[in-house]
């Protein structure tokens, strides 16, 4: 249980004070840095609001995808991070997806390839909703 106002609400207010009260008082050379601070606060606010939901949703989608896929995985290059993960039984599904995409493991199945690409889109659009919604909108993803 947390006190009010919540962290995201405080971040929103602090950002407003920074941009509207403090920035006009700063020398022009410092405006860029102030805007970078404001941008960082906006990202932190959106990520705090989203919480663990995006990671949990991605995990569910990957679990479902791999449950359907029943793939065999060739051994990754010895000594690489991926090979260590492989030795540990692929506990990290996003890393497993990365490995499979590198190895081209879905290329023989149009269904799997399509499924993997759908996950990539969801992952990317989800990240940008929190990190840079303006860029997302400028690319036609409102």
């Amino acid at each position: 249980m947390r006190d009010l106002p919540t962290g995201p609400v405080l971040l929103d207010l602090a950002r407003d004070v920074l941009l509207n009260d403090l920035l006009p008082l700063l020398p022009p050379d410092a405006h860029i840095d102030a805007r970078l601070v404001a941008n960082s606060m906006a990202i932190a606010e959106r990520e705090a609001i989203a919480g663990e939901r995006p990671a949990q949703q991605l995990r569910r989608e990957l679990e479902s995808f791999y449950a359907d896929a029943a793939l065999t995985h060739p051994a990754p290059r010895a000594g690489s991070t991926l090979s260590r993960i492989a030795a540990e039984g692929y506990p990290d599904l996003p890393r497993r997806l990365a490995h499979d995409l590198r190895a081209g493991n879905f290329e023989s199945s149009e269904v799997l390839e399509r499924g993997a690409r759908d996950i990539l889109w969801q992952l990317t659009i989800g990240k940008l909703r929190r990190a840079n919604p303006r860029f997302l909108a400028a690319n036609g993803f409102g």
Partner: protein, 360 residues
């Protein structure tokens, strides 16, 4: 030592520790290099920008010699931390001399030195050119919209002029062979970096796999700028006054520079203008083809544009590493890592003909 006019200061090693010491040592160096009895430096100040290199603005008065009178110069040296792929300053100076001699619009290179007694580290000095390189400001400037196609056409010509420089070149013998820096080697380097990165990047892996399976046929290499983009040329109104930042120059596929220039990561405020945020591709290509005397291959440009998005994503992550791993306290660098996901969206948009699923 790349420079021919690079006399050493007679200051003892370890000199130049204060701004006044630096100024005095630099004045003596400039006088010696410029054949002047004396040089007075009236202003020496760091310039903003340059995440990898440090640029210093110099106003100086030469009492004689080849630069007699008032001169506005730039001294370029390495920032405290940089990226390993960039050339050393004396090598960059040699590239700048080569392209200047080839008629490319660049600040005239003047002198270079690797004597640490002068500025603490290797540097070179060039003429300062007027204008702005601020990419967001340029791409937002509605007053320039009418002349942007002309600027793009000019940039195409300039790029073709750069690409007329081909190996072998004894003065550029330090550049790695194309066989060692071509697309296969770049792909291997991307993967090696991702293997060392703490977070998996499945979209980059997918994009890199596409590159690996769509390699273009071999081509005669040319000198590439390797960071030819809006933000790295100076515009004084509608006038192109200089192409900057040659630290990544090397042998490559000429389409590599075109793909980099056009990739979405370098369009800034105008994503719809595919040539660097200032115009559509047509004037850029027209200028290039008329100067080069050969056609641009759109399929090769597409390959290099995909690679550009991967490369920009990896650079963005590496910039963020400078804070995350090396502890360089710089918010701009830290935030740059977030731009990798923007590149990943572009990779998906370029390579997935079906587009995003409706529930994304």
């Amino acid at each position: 030592m790349a420079g021919t006019a690079s006399p050493r200061s007679d200051l003892p090693p370890g000199g130049g520790s204060s701004v006044d010491d630096r100024r005095a040592a630099l004045a003596r160096f400039l006088a010696s290099a410029g054949g002047a009895p004396a040089v007075e430096i009236t202003s020496l100040s760091p310039m903003r920008g340059g995440a990898i290199q440090e640029n210093w603005s110099i106003d100086a008065c030469f009492s004689g010699g080849s630069l007699a009178g008032d001169q506005q110069l730039v001294l370029r040296t390495a920032a405290p931390t940089g990226v390993t792929e960039s050339l050393g300053r004396l090598e960059e100076f040699a590239v700048l001399k080569a392209v200047f001699a080839a008629g490319v619009t660049v600040p005239e290179p003047l002198f270079a030195s690797d004597d640490p007694a002068i500025f603490g580290k290797p540097f070179f000095v060039m003429q300062r050119v007027n204008g702005t390189a601020a990419a967001h400001r340029i791409t937002r400037d509605n007053a320039l919209a009418a002349v942007f196609p002309t600027v793009a056409e000019r940039l195409g010509r300039e790029l073709a002029r750069i690409h007329k420089i081909r190996p072998p070149r004894p003065d550029l013998a330090f550049l790695p062979r194309y066989e060692d820096v071509g697309p296969c080697q770049q792909i291997a380097a991307f993967r090696a970096y991702l293997d060392s990165h703490p977070m998996p990047r499945p979209v980059l892996e997918w994009g890199i796999r596409w590159l690996e399976t769509h390699l273009p046929p071999p081509i005669q290499p040319v000198l590439c700028h390797h960071d030819f983009r809006t933000g790295n040329y100076m515009l004084d109104g509608a006038d192109l006054t200089g192409i900057l930042d040659w630290e990544f120059a090397g042998w490559g596929d000429p389409h590599e520079d075109i793909g980099w220039f056009c990739c979405k990561g370098w369009r800034f405020a105008r994503l719809d203008r595919e040539a660097g945020g200032i115009a559509d591709r047509s004037p850029l290509y027209t200028g290039y083809e008329s100067e080069a005397g050969r056609s641009i291959d759109p399929e090769r440009v597409f390959f290099w544009e995909v690679l550009a998005s991967v490369r920009w994503a990896v650079i963005a992550l590496q910039q963020s590493d400078r804070y995350m791993i090396r502890g360089e306290r710089n918010l701009d660098l830290a935030l740059t890592g977030r731009r990798a996901t923007e590149c990943e969206l572009e990779i998906l948009m370029l390579l997935d003909p079906h587009g995003a699923p409706t529930d994304a």
